[in-house]
């Protein structure tokens, strides 16, 4: 699977399909840090929110990189559909990890904060960004061409889901009692960003529990996708 992942990564980079989401994200991040000093928790929570959007966009791009016939050949060469799908996820995760590393390290090394982050803040930052990028990936896999053949159909739907997951806090309050479950099943991006923004070392347990829920939610989506991919026709 190492060779398969390496091939997918190489093809994705050569195809330059990563360009739009990565540039969008980096420019947005640079705008946030266009002045200094910045508050640590506030800044990281905003970049985590942006990374969530960029990770979902990048995820769709990675999943759609291989043409349908090439996916068919990869499945035969690798010997399993699930191997190919898992390698695609690893490939997307590597890209997202690199974005996360830039996001976390850039402001510290460029001296954008009023002070150096504490150990707990480092942990919150890494976990928060990685959790939200994993959640973005988990959502994005269901908007690739094998589920929704046209980008014109998948991208608006993806944007709606991402926006709903940001407003789920206020949405839950306004929904009638019979529809409150909608707020609960939406991706928990809002709650994790809120925990990051209001981060206080005394509330570490609260952050960890939301973080765990986010990771479980994202892994659940990814596991469903891998499971489905073994039981469906390949994109033709």
């Amino acid at each position: 699977m190492i060779h398969l992942t390496r091939y997918l990564l190489r093809h994705h980079i050569r195809s330059q399909k990563y360009f739009a989401p990565v540039i969008f994200y980096i420019i947005s991040m640079l705008l946030i840090y266009s002045y200094k000093p910045n508050p640590i928790a506030d800044s990281y929570s905003v970049t985590a929110m942006l990374l969530f959007l960029a990770a979902a966009w990048l995820g769709v791009m990675v999943m759609n990189t291989e043409p349908a016939k090439q996916v068919q050949l990869l499945v035969l060469h690798a010997g399993s559909r699930r191997k190919v799908v898992t390698s695609q996820l690893i490939c997307a995760w590597i890209m997202q990890f690199m974005l996360t590393a830039i996001t976390v390290l850039y402001p510290v090394f460029a001296g954008m904060f009023e002070r150096q982050p504490t150990g707990e803040e480092w942990m919150m930052t890494w976990l928060g960004h990685l959790g939200l990028s994993l959640l973005g990936l988990g959502i994005s896999v269901f908007f690739q061409k094998s589920y929704i053949p046209l980008l014109s159909g998948s991208m608006p739907a993806l944007i709606i889901v991402l926006l709903l997951s940001f407003i789920q806090g206020s949405l839950s309050e306004r929904l009638p009692e019979s529809l409150e479950w909608i707020g609960r099943i939406l991706p928990p991006a809002f709650y994790l960003v809120r925990e990051m923004m209001l981060f206080d070392e005394s509330k570490m347990n609260s952050f960890v529990s939301v973080m765990l829920w986010t990771v479980i939610y994202a892994l659940g989506l990814l596991i469903i996708h891998v499971w489905l991919s073994g039981r469906r026709d390949l994109r033709g």
Binding site: H3, P67, Q70, Q72, L73, L234
Partner: protein
Amino acid sequence: MIWSILGFFKKSDQASPDLSDRGILLQQVSKRLGHAQVLNQINLEVKPGECAVLVGRNGSGKSTLLRMLAGILLPDTGSIHRILKGSERYAVDGLPRLPFTSGEYLWEMGRIRGIRPEVLRGRIRELSELLYLDTAIDQKLPLLSKGTLQKVNLIQALLPGPGGLLLLDEPLSGLDIPAQEAVVSLLGQWKDEGTCIVTACHETLLIERLADQVIVLKKGSVLRYWSREDILQAGEPVVCIQSLAGAGEDLANDLSIVQQQGVMSLVHNTSSGISNAWLWDWKVVQQSTDDVLRMILASGGSVVSVQQEESQLHMESLLEGQHPAVHTSRGGVTESVNLSSSMDDAGGEAQ
């Protein structure tokens, strides 16, 4: 060179037919894509060391059936049993033009397949030489011609060597004649070594030399099965004659001509630029050629060319479900006369 390749692959791969291998068996397989029933109750059995050729017009379900055999599509109903050592390999119809050179692409596919680097290097080199890839091995796939891209497509499918199930979608499409000969020879040798081959193909070269069974598909259903014996029974060679007759002289409606023994079809060729004479294309059975030529000359016409068809198989007949020895002429050309008699009582009815 083919022999050297065979020796090369024998060293490293499973090759000899195994009695425990029972091949691939499809029973009552159906598939619907969207609103279209693309495959309808297909039965097929291909044993190790056999070659099955799928023929049919566009949209008849050949590629879908290949994808089903590859496991890319799952059947809605019916079952696919695969008792065969070795892996599946597949040459798709139209390799995507990815941003890699041919060499890089083949290397990546071989490594993903799990072929060791030293073995893979040798296989790429030998297969590239066999298919005359030459300098194209260092060219990017988007810059390759259709034929060269097809060679890369075939090589990626042939990389693992003989054995297993080899699925080829129009393998000879776009290839030059030497490459076609090389591919057919190699496939013939791999077949003898136990490779199970299923291919969608319209080239008579491959059908005549390799096919153990020919499956004629029409609108997703099997119209006919033909065995190796049926293919070998293909009739006597056909001779194509071009003749000139006076302008306005309609030979196709002259019963004494069209009923002449051995004349299979007579078509007015409108592509000639001659204004004071009409060009006629004849197809006649070989043993009547002399009689027909005498008749043309006696009627005041002149003979432009006489040429024997290389293949004795007749794809048009095959596609219509008729015995491959039956000759038919199809429309699209003016004033064609179909004089063939039906021989479609041979072969296997689709069950």
